[in-house]
Symmetry: D2
Subunit: 361 residues, 4 copies
């Protein structure tokens, strides 16, 4: 499918993938999504939860619908330290572990594509959403040059899940009209916390209006993602951001209520048209995991809804609805995305596909 | 308890209450809340759901925890038309029925205290939250004078449930600092729709980001409530309002994420202090249903939460939390209230107590 | 794939299907499952809910994840009366309508495969679970002979959803050991009631220990399904049955706690082996919708669970777990099945495939 | 209220209570239920969760609706070792800690009333449900005699929560008709696991058909409770028991589907009458926490339901419904009880009241 893939015996040779944090829900999602991927095969698993030394089948309880894929059942879970038998790693380690472990892998020559928050805000680390800021990959030149990781390895970070969903909706607006300020109220799914995550006693007949660190993340990451690269570092976008984050009783799918004020005037129909027709480099390159339309605009009065819309395009497209004029800011809308697919594992996999297409992997 | 109550044989004589819409969840809530009320006793029940002619025990399935009170079990459910054997009526009829029915009762000489949206925006109808705008009761002078209902009857309306919760939190801010604009995102409970209301299949593992008419109601009712009475009609407050309303999988308790911009500068601590110490005429008059503190300010990082805080002060106090400086507007906070108590039945009962204290009942 | 299918221009010609009850959740499930079916194509839709005359796209709100299939969007919804432009019909009409409507269609020459309870207990109507009692299809001979529907049309019924799940697990036990009595306690999903079905206010933080008519259905249908055909009618199996049915707060997936006493002694391992290796005619014929293994035996201590196991084999396999010796009866286990797939639409489609293989369609 | 209470200055002096496991949900429930208790006051708190040394206000997050009572806020949380400043202790420690800790307290002279499973099956420890087997308190004579705890201290155990609910319903049947066997399927609430307990990701849109150790507990504890005391030890009742236990997505309230076979024949009406009129020594003694009727028989076709019935009589009465003839065993019914009130804290408090009435406290 991709001309850049090494070919062996007439068949594309797959890149060998290591998954750091393989036993958690995001790790499981990676394994599920890579099960039939044409460019990658999972050859190494690592975790920091005490399951090291066991085969994967015994190391964790499989929490996704459907069976654990056969090919990983007998892989040993190793500690999150190099060496691992793979060409590069996806990391969904907890932030406290990720900081050092990801650095170690990069130093040992493994490209690292990370879901963790550890390196997101470092100036030479691209905070990548392939449809939004693939230009930021040019940061890798200076990163590789300065960090001198072995074999030109590097670290690429994915934003936090709710940021990806929101930034993807904001990017076309920012490019066309200029976004001056954003007010967002999130209703985020339980799987965002990992497993076991939130107690059922806090979730049932309730919601928790607080997610530790999330409001700061949203504010900082968004301006980096929408910023421009100048002199080998990101110049943050000048956008005022306000985020209130809530954890609601939903398995998967973050829903965000968004208002924006724009620098140039925009009509509701114009915004809808712009978002519905948005397409970017991953679509042009026909990357394997790229949704045909990254943004699906729904016209029903009561959509998007998490259970109905989170799986759009295999969970890789976000859904926008209820676009309307706002009486305090300019435009308001709702945006929904699958937090462990588009927001986590799928985001990292799409990033890896983009890195291949750009010659970094 | 109240010097104004008629006394008979040394014992306060209770006002006889009729409940329009007695079989629905709000009607049931009225009955529960009036069960041991010192000033009121339920003597008449009416509904428009085909249960007329049956005794209450058979006319509806009791949906609140605990048993149906003995004293209403054998009352006949009547059609919502005068005459009814009572001194005044509480109405929680559906809006389409309420418009005409409430008018009929008022014309027939029954004071009407209404939860329905039918008459809320009429210029001579007080849209009453006793702690916020008891001054609006002066509208009754002109209403009584002009409408010429028999026996000086009248109509008083209660705002919709999410408006009450929000306006109660905004009122002290508006009075002290002046509110210029408000951005609110609501997460509203299932009981707000009545019974059977939302399908369980729409509620489970989901939320619905749309409540029919709610966003308009919030915008229109709030400016009336916070307005001032001039020349026998309400001069709306000059506040810009933006509301996005969501129905979430929670039985009771509306949670609202609020941002406000203020005309005069206010510090976070100052706002907290102002809200926590807010007290008004119902507190001063020690009305039976008035919470000692209408607004409870919580300092925990993750409160208010619906299941933990909705029953504060018997469901009559609202809870405010997470007050913080906002980067787009000025101040943000969360506010929670029990939608069928403070937002519906309890609101109407407190209004009736206030009407007694003011000599209208 | 199937030699019996009519071939036209070198390509198998599909049978044209009409769906009665097309707008409800089960109708939608039919449409989803038939979307890419090699033997069937949906050409006609009917409903009795007031949507007649509208095109399907406007006639109902699509409630399944993913989009409404393009090919049905512009079909008109017709009343459930012949003629319809199709070769046979699937019916999931409500029982009160189904009784007459299904009879009308059969009389008019349309084979009817029904999910409704209307004709289930009629002695010449096969109550079909293809893996369990395909022999009952011989009832069609006498049905066709005696009812004299036009074109040798007929009625085949599917059991109610919880019965299918249970009977599929009991059938191998009954055949091998003889089942003397069964005690079953069900925990059934919300989608079993259709849409809107149960009120969210009854579902949340609650369960309802009553399903109208279900306990009788289970008791009557099971003995018919497991019975033998003698003299053109079913001789019921001699099994004592006790069912307690509960509706729980789960979207899809009925879980049943079962105890059985057997005529011949059986060990736990023997029962596990028997169920895990069960296979029947649909598997032998490789019917398109037949799961490779109709019964998946799980060995984890806490499985099957609805969310993890309902979609096994596309929702067409049931899952059995926690097989153990019982101290009051003989053996106990849990069994789970997807109620709208294996219990409804999928059951009817598999029945249709079996009818083709047997030359009836 | 109770003549046996020591009186000081004309006012009943309250017994001083220590709570072991004070920071967990059951400990919080104790504190809430003892808030206005006429015979007890909380004077000491202990826990084994690392919160020792802090004042209660800081040692735990209060998880019940309503505020933490003022009087415990500044008590220090101590390790669960004597001495504690109290007259006796309620223990809801985890079993592994309870075994030794409760023994230590008893040896040090503190009567122990325990919710833990540690000592339940010891032959000289009464497994007490005051309405069912207050006669078992005579075991204390031999326990005190043989164990020689200081000051005639002792250990009394409460059964596990689902056992209490079930045994309370079975006791009158066993006494009148003789129970030969019981088949029970439980649907148990989340709060039964404590906090944080079950992950929200396992609870939502799901149920877990397994509760570790519960089926054995039910089988063993029930026969002890319903047994008779002979020669200073309990002679277990000869009842066959089968239990299948499920954890469902409900905060509070265990619902049990029960079938029983009886030694003597009983009609449905007779069973209903027997249960509805059941009353025992706690009722006769008018113990403070004793419900007027321990068993409420509901006649609605769809009750008891957890959310509607768990709080009956302040959570101290159980509710029975759907009594019917069973086709496999003899009689079937549903029974519901509040698991943290009647099943835990309330059970222990009622036991303590009974111990006072019997002169042991």
């Amino acid at each position: 499918m991709d001309a850049d893939l090494p070919v062996e015996n007439g068949k594309a040779k797959k890149l060998r993938v290591g998954i750091l944090g393989a036993t958690d829900t995001v790790g499981q999602r990676f394994i599920r999504m890579l099960e039939r991927h044409p460019q990658f095969e999972v050859t190494a698993l690592a975790a920091c939860d005490g399951s090291q030394g066991e085969i994967y089948k015994n190391a964790c309880v499989w929490r996704l619908s459907g069976e654990m894929p056969e090919e990983v059942k007998s892989l040993f879970v190793e500690p999150p330290r190099p060496p691992l038998d793979c060409d590069f790693v996806f990391s969904s380690l907890p932030a406290v572990v990720a900081q050092e472990a990801e650095e170690m892998f990069a130093r040992a020559g493994y490209p690292v594509i990370s879901n963790s928050s550890a390196h997101r805000l470092e100036p030479d680390v691209p905070l990548l959403i392939p449809e939004v800021n693939h230009q930021h990959l040019q940061l890798l030149e200076s990163q590789i040059c300065q960090r001198r990781y072995r074999n030109d390895a590097f670290i690429v970070a994915n934003p936090s899940c709710s940021v990806i969903v929101r930034a993807l909706a904001l990017a076309p607006l920012h490019e066309r009209f200029g976004v001056a300020s954003v007010v967002v109220t999130t209703m985020q799914a339980l799987s965002g916390v990992g497993y076991p995550g939130m107690s059922s006693l806090d979730a049932i007949d309730n919601l928790v209006p607080f997610i530790d660190g999330e409001e700061q993340k949203i504010e900082r990451e968004t301006v980096k993602i929408l910023g421009s690269v100048e002199n080998h570092s990101v110049h943050s976008a000048q956008i005022l951001l306000s985020a209130q984050c809530n954890r609601v009783n939903i398995t998967d799918g973050h829903l965000l209520a968004v208002r924006v004020s724009l620098l140039r005037q925009a009509g509701v129909a114009e915004v809808g048209e712009l978002l519905a027709t948005f397409s970017s480099l991953p679509q042009e390159l026909r990357l394997y995991s790229a949704p045909k339309r990254p943004i699906i605009v729904r016209n029903e009065i009561d959509r998007p809804q998490p259970r109905l819309d989170r799986d759009a395009s295999g969970g890789m497209a976000i859904s926008v609805g209820r676009i309307a004029r706002d009486r305090v800011l300019d435009i308001r809308f709702l945006v929904l995305g699958h937090n462990t697919i588009r927001g986590r594992a799928g985001a990292a996999i799409l990033s890896a596909e983009m890195l291949i297409a750009n010659g970094y992997l």
